[in-house]
């Protein structure tokens, strides 16, 4: 199953944070991400979905090496990363060139004091000092064209651009080092609906042209349906369901996935809406419920769910972490 095209291979990837509870409270641990395992091939898209606070962005930060994993192992483009081995500067530089990130908010992700040209050239300037300034400029201008911006935008500043254009610039910057993996952390959720589709089309086009692997993080299931090859559903730092997009969308097994899917509007007035309304709030990650993390909100929960957490198991089409998976 794993071949040379596998760019990310994560095994039991975890990231915990120590949180201090004031002067006398001692410390407690937030398990923002616990034992996530997945792999990602060149040219394909893995979508990570879930509501806010489920660990999606933590996953993005671990994969882009902004933060080291607490436990587990991550193999990025052939390089092994884990919490206990610290990388040398050279390895870091190599890895940086293979995984880059596009952030959610296009208004915060571009330095307001740098021109577009400088923003695009900075990654090359830092990582490949041997490239001459003229060559650098040429690369930046080519990249501008590739993301659908005009050459005269080179000298402008971020405040002169609309949200969609800024997101194009952010994509261009991420691609300047010719990475093979692109982490897209909710790349379109801050944009207008009409502009969302343009950015998504651009991403699809770039993926086809450059054979990129996308780790696509989103809470918008209609966007995910459009983009994803594989889907991973997360709840409170854990993967609850994972499989091919078709399998997950057509026959969701986990109650949480089904609730999520039922909340996405469908443009078909004749279709009967069976909206599953979840009771209660997302529990505090500081104090997760015993057993399956979803049990306080689950309508199928039984005693067993409140005692031990289910492991991911193969349910035919894909894998799911539930004792009482749904069958249709």
């Amino acid at each position: 199953m794993l071949n040379n095209n596998t760019l990310i291979e994560a095994t039991d990837l975890s990231r915990h944070y120590e949180v201090s509870n004031g002067l006398f409270g001692g410390k407690s641990t937030v398990k923002a991400l616990s034992s996530a395992s997945f792999h990602l091939q060149a040219g394909s898209t893995l979508a990570v979905v879930g509501e806010s606070g489920c660990g999606k962005s933590t996953l993005a930060r671990v994969v882009t090496m902004i933060e080291p994993p607490t436990a587990g192992q991550l193999i990025l483009d052939g390089h092994r990363i884990s919490g206990d081995i610290s990388l040398t500067d050279e390895q870091r530089a190599e890895l940086r060139a293979s995984v880059q990130i596009v952030f959610q908010d296009p208004f915060g992700s571009l330095n307001p004091r740098q021109s577009i040209g400088r923003i695009l050239e900075e990654p090359v300037l830092i990582n490949r000092p041997s490239v001459s300034p003229t060559q650098r400029e040429q690369q930046a201008r080519e990249m501008l064209a590739m993301v659908g911006l005009r050459p005269e935008h080179y000298d402008r500043y971020p405040h002169m651009f609309s949200g969609g254009q800024r997101q194009r610039i952010a994509v261009a910057r991420a691609l300047m080092l010719e990475p093979r993996i692109l982490v897209l952390d909710e790349p379109v959720s801050a944009l207008d609906l009409s502009i969302q589709s343009q950015i998504l089309n651009l991403l699809v086009e770039l993926q086809e042209r450059l054979n990129l692997a996308y780790l696509f993080i989103s809470h918008d299931l209609s966007v995910v349906r459009h983009m994803a090859d594989e889907v991973m559903v997360m709840y409170l730092g854990r993967v609850v369901e994972s499989g091919s997009a078709a399998a997950v969308f057509d026959s969701p097994k986990h109650p949480y996935t089904q609730a999520l899917l039922s909340a996405t509007p469908v443009a078909d007035p004749t279709r009967e809406q069976t909206r599953i309304r979840l009771q209660g709030e997302l529990p505090s990650p500081l104090n997760p419920p015993a057993g399956c993390a979803f049990n306080p909100r689950c309508w199928r929960a039984q005693d067993r769910c409140r005692v031990t957490a289910p492991e991911l198991s193969d349910e035919g089409t894909h894998i799911v972490a539930c004792y009482f998976p749904l069958h249709d």
Binding site: F103, S109, P123, N127, E205
Partner: protein, 313 residues
């Protein structure tokens, strides 16, 4: 899917229609925008003009001053200004107790004030911004140590602290400037640290980290330019504070020493003639007042123009 869509779409990026409706001249450059906001504040414009005039006077003092600043005309002690009885056009603003021309001394005094302002701002802003950047980036115990030290410095009345330092270093203009610089520096540290902490969690800093920018590059290339607005305003305002404090130290005999034509020192020399010869005290006082007022007005305008919260967009 939709790759044909994507190509047509990328040849015509969104907003390109808006581009054609909004030509470049309607999207002002940052400087033009700044200037527009600055010009809205009348006081700031007046302040700027007075400040520029003051700089020109300081630069061309040799040409402008009718007499030397230190030459004593023994035949004209305490002569009143030209428009009063007993005054003459030879000494437009009169002379002081040892017969030196007031106008020339005031003109040369501008040089000292400007010099004091520049040096103090360079000392305090330079060290303050560096320490503030360090505190903002390092966090943890380094941050705590620096900030508590700055709190201690801020807890003293500034002039008192400057006095103590001058007393230790010995009275001279240079020592007074160093003392004032140290007294003003905690403001820069606090301001820079606050601005850095506000900028650090933003995504553009994270993305600079992801592409591998070094610590120093993050500090000076990525973050510092975005923290400059409040620092510039503070620099303008502390320019006037420096002049005022230096004058106060001069008045107390701990700053510039006679016969230097520094305005505060001139005031101190003229103390005993307050009732007999009003012009010896009034003119240096007025010079300080106008100067400080102009710089403060200009600083206010700068703040209005640079603070994004005060902008209407």
């Amino acid at each position: 899917m939709a790759s044909t869509d994507a190509t047509t779409d990328s040849s015509l990026p969104e907003g390109s229609k808006r581009d054609s409706m909004l030509p470049d001249r309607l999207r002002p450059s940052p400087f033009k925008e700044f200037w527009g906001y600055f010009c809205e504040n009348r006081g700031a414009i007046v302040g700027l003009f007075v400040f520029v005039a003051f700089i020109l006077i300081a630069l061309f003092a040799d040409v402008l001053a009718p007499h030397s600043a230190t030459e004593q005309y023994r035949d004209a002690l305490l002569q009143p200004p030209a428009w009063q009885d007993g005054g003459s056009t030879r000494f437009l603003l009169g002379t002081d107790a040892v017969g030196r021309d007031m106008l020339s001394r005031l003109i040369y005094g501008a040089r000292y004030s400007f010099f004091i302002g520049v040096i103090v701002v360079v000392i305090s802003a330079g060290t303050g911004v560096l320490i503030g950047l360090l505190a903002g980036f390092a966090r943890g115990w380094v941050d705590t140590l620096i900030m508590r030290l700055m709190d201690v410095l801020l807890a003293f009345p500034s002039l008192l602290l400057a006095l103590v330092m001058v007393a230790i270093l010995g009275p001279s203009l240079i020592n007074a400037m160093i003392a004032i610089g140290i007294v003003l520096q905690p403001h820069y540290v606090r301001l820079t640290r606050a601005a850095v902490m506000q900028e650090l969690p933003k995504d553009y800093v994270t993305s600079a980290r992801v592409v591998g920018a070094s610590r120093l590059r993050l500090m000076f290339v990525t973050v510092l330019p975005n923290c400059l607005a409040p620092i510039i305003v503070q620099a303008a305002l502390s320019f006037s504070t420096a002049i005022l404090d230096a004058a106060a130290l001069g008045f107390l005999g701990l700053g510039a020493q006679p016969p230097t034509p520094e305005w505060g020192t001139m005031l101190a020399d003229a103390r005993e003639f307050v009732l007999r010869a009003w012009w010896v005290v009034t003119f240096p006082g007025l010079a300080i007042l106008i100067n400080v007022l102009a710089i403060n007005l200009m600083g206010d305008g700068l703040r209005d123009a640079l603070d994004p919260k005060l902008k209407r967009s």
